[in-house]
């Protein structure tokens, strides 16, 4: 547990010191949302709003997470390998990326409501779905970036490998957001959607924890 904390702190410090990476992602989110604003103006159709929101967040997540195993050189990776257990490495990376993803998500939610208005989303479905979904997207992409980092051409491979893996989660998130457009959503429907998203999250995390040691060692 202490190891995990230290590793998260290390990632955080690294992010603060190499500020260009985080700034780049923030600017990326801002500029895509601004481009959407220029193209659409205020969005009246709620389904379009939801689709654009998740697509932008997905690509921001790809950009943010893809560097998580890349920014460190292979010799420094070897150094971590001797220090930390693979379990705490993957957990720390997943927690860190989830936090990053939540910040990005909240930021783009804010920018969306400033530039394009906010559709009336039912909060008891949208907020938990958003939290669970961000965690799931971040964990899945962390694992994919670990896979992609072990092979040559990273950027293209990350997109090819990651897209099919995150798609079921993304479809469920869009579905949950569209359901939350109703004024009142029944508890049963909420439970069904959230448990499906939670189940996928759980499967991703369990698989990542089991399989990461095979990726970590040389």
């Amino acid at each position: 547990m202490k190891e995990v904390n230290e590793l998260i702190l290390k990632d955080f410090r690294l992010e603060i010191r190499q500020r260009y990476a985080i700034n780049g992602i923030l600017l990326y989110v801002f500029s895509t949302i601004f481009v959407v604003q220029l193209c659409f103006g205020r969005i009246i159709d709620e389904k379009t709003w939801i689709a654009l929101f998740w697509i932008i967040l997905l690509f921001a997540a790809f950009n943010a997470v893809s560097k998580s195993f890349n920014q460190e050189s292979s010799s420094r990776r070897l150094y971590y390998f001797t220090l930390a257990s693979p379990l705490s490495v993957i957990i720390s990376k997943m927690v860190y990326n989830t936090l990053l993803m939540l910040i990005l998500g909240i930021l783009s939610l804010g920018l969306f409501s400033v530039f394009m208005g906010m559709p009336p989303l039912y909060p008891w479905l949208f907020i938990p779905a958003f939290l669970l979904g961000s965690a799931g997207l971040a964990s899945a992409l962390t694992m994919v970036s670990a896979i992609a980092s072990r092979s040559g051409n990273n950027a293209a491979l990350m997109a090819i490998l990651g897209f099919p893996i995150v798609l079921p989660l993304l479809l469920l998130l869009v579905k949950a957001s569209q359901t939350s457009l109703k004024e009142v959503v029944e508890a049963g429907v909420i439970l069904r959607l959230l448990s499906a998203i939670g189940l996928i999250d759980l499967v991703i995390v369990v698989l990542a924890v089991i399989l990461f040691p095979y990726l970590w060692r040389d």
């Binding site: 694992m143 994919v144 896979i147 072990r150 092979s151 040559g152 051409n153 491979l157 090819i160 490998l161 897209f163 099919p164 893996i165 798609l167 079921p168 479809l171 469920l172 579905k175 069904r192 959607l193 499906a196 189940l199 996928i200 499967v203 991703i204 698989l207 399989l211 095979y214 990726l215």
Partner: protein, 223 residues
Amino acid sequence: MIKTMWWKFLGVFLVLYSIIAGLLIDVPALPVIHQTIRNLFYHVPMWFSMFFMLGTSLVFSVRYLSGFRMKDDLIASGAANTGLFMGSLGLLTGMIWARFTWGDFWTNDPQLNGAAVSMMAYLAYVVLRGSIDESAMRARISAVYNIFAFMLLVIFLGVLPRLADSSLHPGKGGNTSTMEGLDPLMRMVFYPAAIGWILIAFWLLQLHNRRRALVQGVKLNNQ
């Protein structure tokens, strides 16, 4: 010869039987589908054999990760390739059918999208294998991705269709012709067709593996 090859003969026999009997038997007259219901004998077994191949691929990937024998990696990748082949046959037969029943080669349907994305995941597996040069590393990394890809397949088949409200696809929710209501005479052709094509797929896998083993110099048997 009979001792080791009986299942190949059985596969060929069952497939021939299903092709001939599938065109000859009387099928129930259903609205919209009419005679195209015969596609059940040719389209659905392709998906069945794809699942069996991808399942085999998963099993051998797990076996590779527990023992690191190159033989297991060879079979895992061969099974994924054979599964992709059967899956593309399934897509093709389905698309031809859809053109004449729904009027279009492709519709935005949960069943079709799930199939397409699962195929994409396995194509990504093939690309991933191509991008790593060192063979032990390639085997290890791609085995990990293979397990993820199979998880995706299970989610697309087990979780998402249950959450979808309706589907155009026969045998799925919101459609009148479900598998439970399948005509008993059609069952007599459909089940042998499915078993036959699965056996043929395993035969294909065996041939594929033998060729690849010769090329790569990996021993398949322990003789």
